[in-house]
């Protein structure tokens, strides 16, 4: 995949992969599919993946994006891995609360707090 097609910025912190969205709006179906594929590749590279997804740049996201996050969560769980979310804008956090996905995901205010929570 050409570098310019990536929708995520990733870095590693110890054994944790930290992924950040490049787009402020996670609404476009093709981009969401690409994000799902990129996150799946990260998860499938490790026998017990540790993944932190930071929403620090995100202003809007759609239910399709939530669906992709759930699919990734299921894949991480299937490998006995750990997934954390962080830096979610209050308006977007409300979307997680309305859909009760704040109960499904481990969400932290900051990436630092999320990184400390990995076992």
């Amino acid at each position: 995949m050409p570098a310019e097609d990536t929708r995520l910025r990733t870095r590693t912190h110890g054994d944790v992969t930290v992924a950040e969205f490049i787009d402020r709006n996670i609404l476009d179906e093709a981009n969401i599919q690409m994000i799902g594929e990129e996150l799946s590749t990260i998860v499938e590279k490790s026998p017990r993946p540790k993944l932190l997804i930071s929403f620090s740049n995100v202003d809007h996201l759609s239910s399709a994006a939530l669906g992709t996050l759930i699919t990734i969560n299921n894949k991480v769980k299937a490998r006995n891995g750990q997934l954390r979310l962080s830096n979610i804008d209050p308006q977007i956090y409300e979307v997680f609360v309305i859909t009760k996905l704040n109960k499904l995901f481990q969400i932290h205010d900051t990436a630092e707090a999320a990184l400390k929570s990995f076992a």
Binding site: E29, S62, I70, N74, Q91, L104
Partner: protein, 146 residues
Amino acid sequence: MTPTPSSQPDSGRVRLPYERAGVDSAVGSILAAAGRHGYTDASKFALRLAVEEAMANAHRHGHRGKPDDAPILLEFRVTDREAVVTVEDTGPGFDPAGVPDPTLEENLERPSGRGLMLMRAYMTSVTFNERGNRVTLVYRRPAGRA
């Protein structure tokens, strides 16, 4: 600078395929109208979320099996008091009562089915025509707030 709310309604009607540039432009027109009428950022967030979900549903579900460029009809009317947006697809329609509650424990890990509940959570009312291929979103501004 806060714009002076306009007393003249803003309205628009466009038929467009589900393609990002077109959707962004159409949603942008609605948000610009909301801005002219003094809607807050929170109100605009709610409107954007609901309209995006309605457009995505029209494409993903309403137009399932149809060409990617099947047109969606989007109409809006924004006044100082409320915004009304209708989204109509050319599909056979669906029964909104048949959509399972995505917040039930047993459905929490299902990746789909949240668009409609989000529209209902953020809008004052969400109604469908009898055929189920046209949704009307009504957002009434909270009383006493900008």
